[in-house]
Symmetry: C2
Subunit: 348 residues, 2 copies
């Protein structure tokens, strides 16, 4: 990794800030010893914690502010007020080139609104989207949008496909990821106008994307495709549904092992294998939702994550910078614009 | 149970028809010894199987037809052609009063199209919906729509809430089920016009429903509400996503227990408790999606289910008949129509 990667951190965002933010940055340093951090937050609370983390203290610069975006603040209010909030200052550090990316565990809506305003949307992208990756039967996949855009048209979905494709290549290191559109069936006539229109565009070969076609909900966990494209309403519901089922399953399993002395004994023997499974499916491993389509790298951590999870969100931001995510997506959009515009079919 | 419950069966619908249909009916007879069946299908294939099931043979009447709705037939084609298909004849038996309900494991779209045409939509309901129940942390919940209506407005969602409420009372025996609207957040401003409009109507107290408000994807498995209302696109994706995660989880768990001799030994000890868990989450237990809003009881079985699963789909149809589902939903709609129409607020 180049020595020059600097990440701006909203030290006050999230349920357990600033402690988790600082400890997370310290863990990230063990993975990326050359990383540098700009910390934005309340000096009175951050400085004492930083003093206890000497390795991080050497790699970080603290910028004091006592303004914070509240967890329940409306995005529009957070954007207009709190011009010196820890979140806003961290984003501005990316805009003016002092940092290569920003990570916050604060209010999602506010982060998107401020990042859109400060970093701007990339030329060629109408609307940014939120993406994350998660474990599947085959490995890992990417899904977007997860809630930034409640209603989407065909063009939005095609742009999400393009951004998801570059994200999978950059963050997961895939050479040519497969992309699928989430729908209620695999046949051409299924779904609404947006998914049918996007499918027609993606099938038309106007993009460099390896388009698989429509997929259904059970294809998410099966890992049928590397990138799952959907509108923000459906994507948000699907991701949270999956999280809920995973939680129900692990709770029920734990209860089963407590069911009887014999079952408890069984757990003792199977513990090693079960812990490997738990580690693979650990939601903290998949912490770090990327805001795609903005002029700078912006990663949202779960508000309730711990230091290990926050370190993973930082890793996502660093990986995207190191692997040239922004440059790759700009190249892909530029190439797309060089293609001849779609022709009307002669038969029409 | 009254001796008079008669269920019409599409003996040729589903991946393993007619074998699974007949064996399923035979299993259902052990639960409901007084049930009677009308079987519609190819005599040359059905009669030899029936001869091997003497108990079912006494309780069933076979009606020969050699027409079948293909699994990949378009609903509109299935409706216009195949006037003597096993599916259509089974539905007609409900329409003319010879049967109290119909169960088919055949083509879902065709079943909905033919059932709508033959049985008609109930007065007061604009569009029928597909509902199912499934296991949650608290017990069982109902979700609708699962794919009959890709786009829904606020009125559709309110009607789904009403039908789901009666379904939960009839099929799950709940006294006053709680109803939630699936959304991307719990705040009033979240979501699209349809969910916000439906929420306003349901909060307005114009219905007898115990409305919980908005819920999110993770509330499905948590069992936060008894009835989850959503459009057919989101509901279909959410249900299939949940099925996919459950499958990934159980496969990974099985692989973990095969991981090492020690883990295998652990399984031997914990087997009893794990089998109880597997039984509770067994998807066959939740087989049988109900088409709500039609003038007759119509239940769709999974196409790939086994005899145990098909027997459960038959049980759903019998329970709905025995518990007076159609009468209860008609009463509720009639009461709703007696209420004064919504008043314009004086402030507007």
């Amino acid at each position: 990794m180049s020595a020059s990667v600097t990440i701006a951190l909203d030290a006050m965002g999230g349920d357990h800030a600033p402690g988790v933010v600082l400890k997370g940055a310290d863990i990230a340093l063990t993975r990326y010893p050359a990383a540098r951090f700009l910390l934005f937050g309340d000096e009175a609370r951050v400085a004492p914690l930083l003093a206890k983390l000497p390795r991080l203290a050497k790699a970080a610069t603290l910028h004091h502010t006592d303004e914070v975006v509240a967890d329940d603040a409306k995005p529009s209010v957070a954007l207009r007020a709190a011009r010196r909030s820890s979140m806003r200052l961290a984003i501005e550090a990316v805009a003016d080139g002092r940092a290569d990316g920003v990570v916050s565990a604060g209010n999602t809506g506010a982060l998107m609104a401020i990042a859109k305003f400060v970093l701007k949307t990339m030329p060629g992208i109408d609307r940014p989207a939120i993406a994350t990756f998660f474990p599947t039967r085959r490995g890992e996949s990417v899904m977007l949008d997860l809630g930034a855009n409640i209603e989407c048209d065909a063009d939005n979905l095609v742009q999400f496909a393009l951004m998801g494709d570059v994200f999978a290549r950059t963050a997961l290191g895939l050479i040519q990821p497969t992309v699928g559109l989430l729908n209620v069936g695999s046949e051409d006539l299924k779904g609404n106008d947006a998914v049918r229109g996007a499918s027609a565009q993606l099938r038309g070969g106007m993009t460099p994307i390896r388009f698989h076609g429509f997929i259904e909900g059970d294809d998410i966990a099966a890992g049928t495709v590397d990138v799952i494209v959907t509108d923000g309403f459906t994507g948000n519901v699907a991701l949270k549904t999956a999280e809920g089922i995973a939680k129900l399953f692990s709770e029920s399993l734990r209860a089963s092992f407590r069911h009887s002395p014999l079952a408890r004994l069984g757990y003792v023997f199977a513990r090693g294998a079960l812990k490997k499974l738990a580690a693979r499916l650990d939601p903290r491993r998949y912490n770090g939702a990327m805001f795609l389509g903005l002029g700078g790298i912006t990663v949202k951590s779960h508000g309730s994550t711990d230091a290990f999870g926050f370190a993973n969100a930082i890793s996502v931001a660093i990986d995207l910078k190191v692997n040239g995510f922004l440059e790759k997506i700009r190249d892909e959009l530029a190439q797309l614009n060089k293609l001849p515009p779609p022709q009307q079919s002669a038969a029409l």
